[in-house]
């Protein structure tokens, strides 16, 4: 298939997934900010979120105070912020429009409708309760987009590049969400393992739809080690790093070309390390250090996918 077509499909999927993950992160933080705690802690939460997304500086240039409403305006509705939910849904739709001849009409109509509704939503000023509904809506539209891809698309190269985009983006997002905890401070006088710590970890689980799964799998107290194990190493957890990387590796194998062997090897190596890894060794390196390294590896894979397939370096 055309490299440009593959590129549009890959980014259509990445932007759709990114919009969902942004909604997840923002949703959890805005819920946390409603807990009885000092303004300083609320601010810390938002700073941590902006930092791991990499937009702290961009935010500072536009806004003075780190408040819930400012961050949500910036991250959800700001059309000048290229990584806001608004911009991601627009980019997903524009990528789909560029290859609408390759998509089934259901996929195109789904992404088109999402974008049309997003434009309407961006014109309303939202109260805090409505913002919660908005985040739910973003997640819902992402579920619908995935479902229509799953249900209508021919299983050809286009399919593999679409899922490659989805899983690389999701691996990146889960790693960032898990790393938020590293940046969060506990309120003065609170100990690790105390109530505040518990809320932070459980909020983190909620943001990746893993709270109930955690209870089912461990039937026990929430501990950092187990949360990390669930989100890094478990193969049955749909948003875990291991699950994402095994999907990335599988789809890479399906689109293999003359120059992609090194990319495939690196993805396989990373997948193997997650497959055979133990959580103890992760904590020996330090979870934060481990995640920073992982993010570097997924970024490298993304660059290599672009080079090998999407902007074919063959002339």
């Amino acid at each position: 298939m055309l490299s440009r077509t593959a590129d549009h499909l890959y980014w259509m999927a990445r932007y759709t997934e990114r919009a969902e993950n942004l909604a997840r992160m923002l949703d959890v933080n805005s819920r946390m900010s409603l807990l009885p705690q000092g303004a300083e802690i609320v601010e810390q939460g938002w700073i941590a979120t902006l930092t791991i997304i990499g937009l702290m500086d961009a935010f500072r240039q536009r806004y003075d105070a780190v408040t819930s409403s400012n961050v949500i305006a910036f991250m959800a509705f700001d059309r000048d912020n290229p990584i806001s939910i608004y911009s991601c849904l627009r980019a997903a739709r524009e990528n789909a429009r560029a290859v609408r001849g390759t998509l089934t009409s259901e996929i195109w109509e789904t992404l088109n409708a999402t974008w049309l509704e997003m434009r309407v939503a961006s014109l309303r000023s939202s109260t805090e309760a409505e913002v919660g509904n908005f985040f739910e809506w973003v997640k819902y539209r992402s579920h619908v987009a995935r479902g229509v891809v799953q249900g209508t698309m021919l299983r050809d190269e286009a399919w593999h590049f679409t899922w490659l985009g989805t899983y690389l983006e999701r691996a990146d997002s889960t790693a960032r969400i898990l790393d938020v905890k590293y940046h969060l401070l506990l309120p003065r006088g609170e100990q690790a393992g105390g109530a505040a710590d518990y809320y932070q970890w459980s909020a983190l689980l909620h943001s990746v739809s893993a709270f109930e799964i955690y209870r089912r799998v461990y039937r026990d107290l929430i501990t950092p080690r187990r949360v990390a194990e669930l989100l890094v190493l478990r193969d049955d957890m749909p948003r875990s790093l291991r699950r994402c990387m095994s999907q990335v590796h599988m789809h890479l194998q399906s689109v293999r070309n003359a120059q992609s062997s090194e990319t495939e090897r690196r993805a396989g190596e990373l997948q193997a390390s997650l497959h055979f890894g133990r959580i103890e060794s992760v904590f020996e390196v330090g979870l934060h250090e481990y995640l920073v390294r992982f993010l570097g590896q997924t970024r490298d894979l993304g660059d290599r996918v672009s080079r090998d397939f999407l902007v074919s370096a063959t002339d």
């Binding site: 055309l2 490299s3 077509t5 560029a98 609408r100 001849g101 195109w108 070309n257 999407l310 002339d315």
Partner: protein, 471 residues
């Protein structure tokens, strides 16, 4: 001055014409609520599917629907037979003319067309001189605009030989009518048009460079912001070929390739929907971001077919149009089956004088204009507009032609006040390859504003399904 136009549905005594009788009685017995409901349904469907076109000069990326009218334009079998023969004849002559102009120029030597009219025309491409193209076909896809006037005679208004558009609306209008009113198709034997994409693909494959057995055909689009992008994506999808942009293609050693996820792949035929000027920045406009550097070299080497060929504009220019009947006589030795509209060429002194004296009765067109921009409709123009246009003509008369204002035929059409006659034209699409073919009918455009003669979608025109009856 108001002449009653030819009415497609009613004879002058008010009776419904034979070929409209079945439809008229269906309309009379169908409750108006049902028809209204179906019209609303058509709107919703067109919107949801995103069958839109982009309007230039409004906010960037404004996507609009072309209004669709549910009263079909019906053409009886015998009329179509005559029309189809005339259209094929015309396109054969136009292809022969283009081939001649870029080779031995016999028609100029014979003095049938003034040489400077052709060779000094902005649409003449000296780069094409002496290049042989497969089958000597230049206009593989021709959109010939036909109107009816007077007592119902057909006239050719314009030949579109560069990148004619609109065929997707012909196909979508038919799909919509069959969906909304299946019972009408049980009552009439309407000739099918749905196989157009197959015919087009076969036609494009038949003109591949010699020696290529299983040619790869692509559709080249300027991109998603072009006004006709929907049509480009639609046709590529229907034919099952890649929709490419200039950046997807490159030329290496005079072969054309597309960039794919598995490396470069040879391309043999380009169905291009980009103007000549933008095709190859090394030869034409150097600032073009839409084209492919080196394409003309590959073309000259006979490694790729471009459809339509480069340089067809010389045959569809409005200043060349008056000579088409002469081309038919010269190349085919036949009398034209379809008439031209009488045309005054303002570079001629006597034509200019006549035109200036009769401006309020005439339609004046720019020779390179397209899409209904830059034209004057005398009877509809105000005094100031007439005066302003007169100045423009006097500044450079060679840029204009003039024609009598035709009383275009009218077809009953749904408007706010109910059903009323509105002026229509017809654009059939003629394909030339191993043979010359066309699907029965074409795109009928309708001027929705009362009294308006301008059917272009950019100027408030709509479309109708076009039925050619098989008996």
């Amino acid at each position: 001055m108001s002449v009653t136009p030819y009415d497609e549905m009613h004879a002058s005594d008010g009776d419904v014409r034979e070929h409209y009788k079945t439809f008229a009685s269906w309309l009379a017995r169908t409750p108006s609520e049902r028809v209204a409901h179906k019209r609303a349904e058509a709107d919703t469907l067109f919107h949801r599917v995103g069958i839109t076109f982009t309007v230039y000069g409004e906010d960037s990326g404004t996507e609009r629907l072309i209004p669709f009218d549910i009263v079909p334009r019906i053409i009886p079998a015998n009329e179509w037979k005559h029309l189809a023969a005339g259209l094929k004849q015309r396109v054969r002559a136009l292809n022969a003319f283009t081939n001649d102009i870029y080779h031995s120029q016999d028609i100029l030597q014979a003095g049938r067309i003034p040489a400077e009219q052709v060779l000094c025309n902005g649409q003449y491409r000296p780069e094409m001189q002496g290049i042989d193209v497969p089958g000597s076909i230049y206009a593989h896809i021709a959109g010939i605009d036909v109107v009816r006037a007077g007592a119902g005679e057909f006239y050719v208004l314009e030949d579109n030989l560069r990148v004619p558009s609109g065929v997707s609306y012909m196909l979508e209008d038919r799909r919509m009518m069959m969906r909304l009113f299946p019972e009408l198709f049980a009552l009439h034997s309407v000739a099918p048009v749905e196989h157009y994409p197959d015919l087009l693909l076969e036609n494009l494959r038949s003109v591949a460079p010699s020696g290529v057995n299983d040619p790869t055909v692509v559709l080249l689009t300027p991109g998603a912001y072009n006004s006709a992008y929907f049509e480009h994506a639609f046709l590529a999808q229907q034919m099952g070929i890649e929709l490419v942009e200039g950046q997807d293609l490159f030329v290496d050693d005079e072969f054309l390739y597309m960039r794919t996820t598995r490396g470069p792949q040879r391309v043999d035929v380009i169905y291009r929907r980009i103007d000549d000027d933008f095709l190859d920045p090394l030869v034409f406009r150097p600032d073009s971001m839409l084209g492919i550097p080196g394409l003309l070299a590959a073309y000259r080497a006979g490694r790729v077919t471009i459809a339509n060929a480069i340089g067809t504009g010389v045959a569809d220019d409005k200043s060349i149009y008056p000579y088409v009947p002469e081309m038919i006589r010269f190349y085919l030795g036949e009398e034209p089956l379809l008439s031209n509209v009488p045309t005054y060429v303002l570079r001629r002194k006597e034509d200019l004088e006549y035109t200036l004296a009769h401006l309020p009765e005439l339609v004046v067109k720019e020779v390179h204009g397209a899409g209904g921009y830059g034209m004057l409709i005398g009877p509809a123009a105000s005094k100031d507009e007439l005066a302003a246009f007169r100045q423009r003509i006097l500044r450079s008369p060679e840029k204009y032609i003039a024609q009598p204002t035709l009383a275009l035929s009218a077809c009953p059409t749904f408007v706010d006040a109910g059903i009323a006659p509105r002026h229509i034209d017809l654009r059939p699409f003629v394909l030339s390859g191993r043979e010359v073919t066309l699907v029965p009918g074409g795109l009928t455009r309708v001027a929705l504003r009362e009294g308006s003669l301008v059917v272009n979608s950019s100027q408030g025109g709509g479309t109708k399904d076009t039925w050619v009856l098989e008996r």
